[in-house]
Symmetry: C2
Subunit: 434 residues, 2 copies
Amino acid sequence: MAADRKPLRIAIAGLGTVGAGVIDVLQQNAEILAKHCPRPIVVTAVSARDKSKDRGLNLSGVDWVDDAAKLAEHPNVDVVVEVIGGSEGKAKELVEKAIANKKHVVTANKALLAHHGTALALAAERAGVGLAYEAAVAGGIPVIKAMREGLAANRITQVYGILNGTCNYILTQMRETGREFADVLAEAQKLGYAEADPSFDVDGVDAAHKLSILTSVAFGVAVNFAGVRISGIRNVSAMDIAYADELGYRIKLLGIGRQTPHGIEQRVHACMVPAASTIAKVDGVYNAVVTSGNFVGENIAIGRGAGRGPTASAIVADLMDIARGFILPAFSAPAESLEPAAQAPVGLHAGSYYLRLMVVDKPGVVADIAGVMRDENVSLESMIQRGRSPNDPVPLVFTTHETTEAAVGRVVKRLSDIKSVLEPAHVLPIEPLS
Amino acid sequence: MAADRKPLRIAIAGLGTVGAGVIDVLQQNAEILAKHCPRPIVVTAVSARDKSKDRGLNLSGVDWVDDAAKLAEHPNVDVVVEVIGGSEGKAKELVEKAIANKKHVVTANKALLAHHGTALALAAERAGVGLAYEAAVAGGIPVIKAMREGLAANRITQVYGILNGTCNYILTQMRETGREFADVLAEAQKLGYAEADPSFDVDGVDAAHKLSILTSVAFGVAVNFAGVRISGIRNVSAMDIAYADELGYRIKLLGIGRQTPHGIEQRVHACMVPAASTIAKVDGVYNAVVTSGNFVGENIAIGRGAGRGPTASAIVADLMDIARGFILPAFSAPAESLEPAAQAPVGLHAGSYYLRLMVVDKPGVVADIAGVMRDENVSLESMIQRGRSPNDPVPLVFTTHETTEAAVGRVVKRLSDIKSVLEPAHVLPIEPLS
C-alpha cells in the first residue's frame, strides 16, 4: 500500500448521538467514502463515560480508553474527534493535549472554540496539525468551508444567520399556533427539541458561540465571544409575533456579524425581518447562513443545523479533508495574524426599531410618547393602536426610522417615567434584509 | 522565498466580462488574498481577440499572446484560466493542450465539460494537474465544492436547482406582470439579461449543461449530457402561470438529477413547484441548488448564478485551491472509475402532472376527457373550468395523481383525437418539493 493510501486512524471522544453518528456514517457509507477519499478512515480508539452501555455499535477491534484525555497520546491515532462538549474540562484538556501530541483535531464544540479558538488555532498551526470544526456551526451546512474556501476571494462585509434550531422551532411554533413562549418551550422539551435546561439555546448563548466563530472566519480576526451582544427569545410574546405579521415582518433569532465604520458588530437577538426575505421563510429546526462578499454578492445556505446525521456528515467531511491533506488555518487567516478587532460600541448600532408599550387607554398618551421620541430625535415610521378600552391597559406599537441603539435606550428609559406607560417597552430591532 | 510561497502564475484566455473580472478580483482584493492564500497569484499572460480594445485593465508586464492555444505551452504559466466558452474549437484545443503540457486548468465553460468532461478529467488526472470549474455551475455559489467536499460523506440521492438566471428572470417577470413570454424575452434582451440569440438559455440547453455536471459529481458517474431530457420555457404561457398561482404552485425551470430504481434520471424542464417551497421563492437572476444526502438531509444554496463578480469570485477560489495544492478528481470520484450510468427511461418517470386543454365549451367534453384518463389509468386530482362561454374555446385544467410520463403521453395523444379539444395539451410536471 502506497504511503498516501495509509489508513487515517481516528479516535472518537464521546459516544453520544454525534459520536455514534460518525461511526454510522463511516460504516453505512463505506463504499462512498472509498470512492471519494484517498485514504481509508478507521476508528482505532474510543472513549465514553459508560463502557457497559449498549449503543448498538460494532466496536470490535476498537481500543476502549476510559480517560478521554489519554486518546491524545494514543500511539495508533492520527486524529482525535472531540464530541464531548463544553468549553472547559475534559474537552479542553483533550484538544490541547492532542494538538501538543501532533494529532489533528476535529470537533463539534462551539463553546470551546468561542472561548479558546484563537489559542487553539495558534497551537494547531505551530504543531502543524489541523483544527477542523465544520460541525460546530450550522450543523450539516458546510458554511465554514464555503467562507474559508468557496468565497475566499471576497472581502466579506457581513455574515448573519439563524444559528439555533431550538429557538427557530419555538418561534415558528409560536407564530403558527399563537401560543406563548413558555407553553411552546415546554412542548419542545417534551418532543426533545429543547434541553431540560434550555438556557444555552433560548438565551442566545449557543447562537453567540457560533456567531463568534463565523465572525472570526469572515473577517480574519481573533474569536471574540465576549464581544457578542447577546439576548435571547424569552421576552418575545405572542402579541409581538402577531404585530410582526401585521407589519409585514417575521421574528427570528439572528446572529449578525458586520463590518461597520465603528468596528466589528456582533449581535445575537430576536429581531424583525421582512416577511418576504429568504431568511424569514427558514422555519422549524432549519439553520441558514447568509454571507455577503464584495464580488459574489449574497450567498445563502440552508440546511439542518443539528442532529445525529447532519453533525456526523460535517465531521466525516472534515476527516476526509484531513485524509486528503487539505489543512487550512482554522479561522481563514493564519492564527499568528488574527488580531483582536475593534468592536463597534453597542450604542452606535444604527437601525430601525419596533417598540411595543402597554399603556392606559386615555387621551394624551400618544402625544406624551411622541414628545419623548421627538426630544430624542427618534423619527416615527408607523403607529398601531388597535381597539379601544378607555382607562384599561392596551398595547401601543411604534416603528421608527433609522436611529441608534443609544437613542432608543434613552427613549425607553424616559418612557418608563410616564405614568400611563405600564411596563418597560418591548423593543426589537428591525433588520432590513433581502 | 520558500518553495511553497512561489507565485502561482496564471494565463487568462478570454478578456470579456469574466476574464476582466478575474483581474479585478486579483487586484482589488489583493490584501485579502495575501492573507488567505499561501502563494501570490500572478497573471503572467493573456489572450483575447482584439489587442487594441481598451478594457480599462492594467496589463503592464503581462505577456499578450494572440493565439490562445499558445498559452498552453507558455513557459511562465502554471494555470490556464479558460473563459473563451463553447464546447469545441479554441476552448477545447486550449484546455486539452494545457493539460497535455501539465498545466492546471480553471474554466467556467459548462458546454465544454458537458460534452467532454469525463475525457478531460481523465487526461488531467493522468497528467497530475487540476481541472477546476466552480464557475461553470451556478456562478458564484460554491456548489461543486459543497458536493465534492462539504457533503462528501453522504450518498447523494437527488440534486436539483434553478440553474439558468435568464429563464428564472423571465418566469419571474411573467408572473409579476402577467405578460407573455415573447414580450418579456424582448425586454430582457434590451436590459442585457438575455442574449440576442436566447436559444441556449430559454430552450434549457445551458441548464442541461450544468445539470449533467452536477449529476456526475453527485453520483460519481460519467458526464452524460446526451442523457438529459431537455425542454425550455418557450411554451409556458401567462395562462399557465396564472393557473399555477391558483393551484398553489409556481412555475420554475428546474434541472433535476435523481437516482431512481430504473437508473439515473436527468431532466431540465419548466415544472410546477409548491408555492411554499424554498425553491419557489428564488426569483429573478438568482440560482439555487438543492442537494439531498443520506445523512445530512436537504441542503440549499442560493446566490447569483452569473455575472462578472460572482463568476470571477468562483474562478479565483479555484485558483486559491490550486495554490494550496488542494486538487481533487474533477467529478468527485477518480476519472478512471467514472462509468456511464444507466439512464432511467423517460417514460418511466413517475410524478403528477398539470394538463391545460383548450376545448369547445359544450356538454360532454369533460366526460370524454375523463374517460380517456380512466382508460389510461391516470387518476385525476383536480379540475378547473372557469367561466362559461358556450361553444367558444375555453381552458380546462386538470392535475393528476402520481402516474408515469408514458401514461400522460398516451393521454395527450388520445386527447388530440377528440374533436372538442382544440390544441395539443399543455403539460407541465408537478414536482412535490419541500
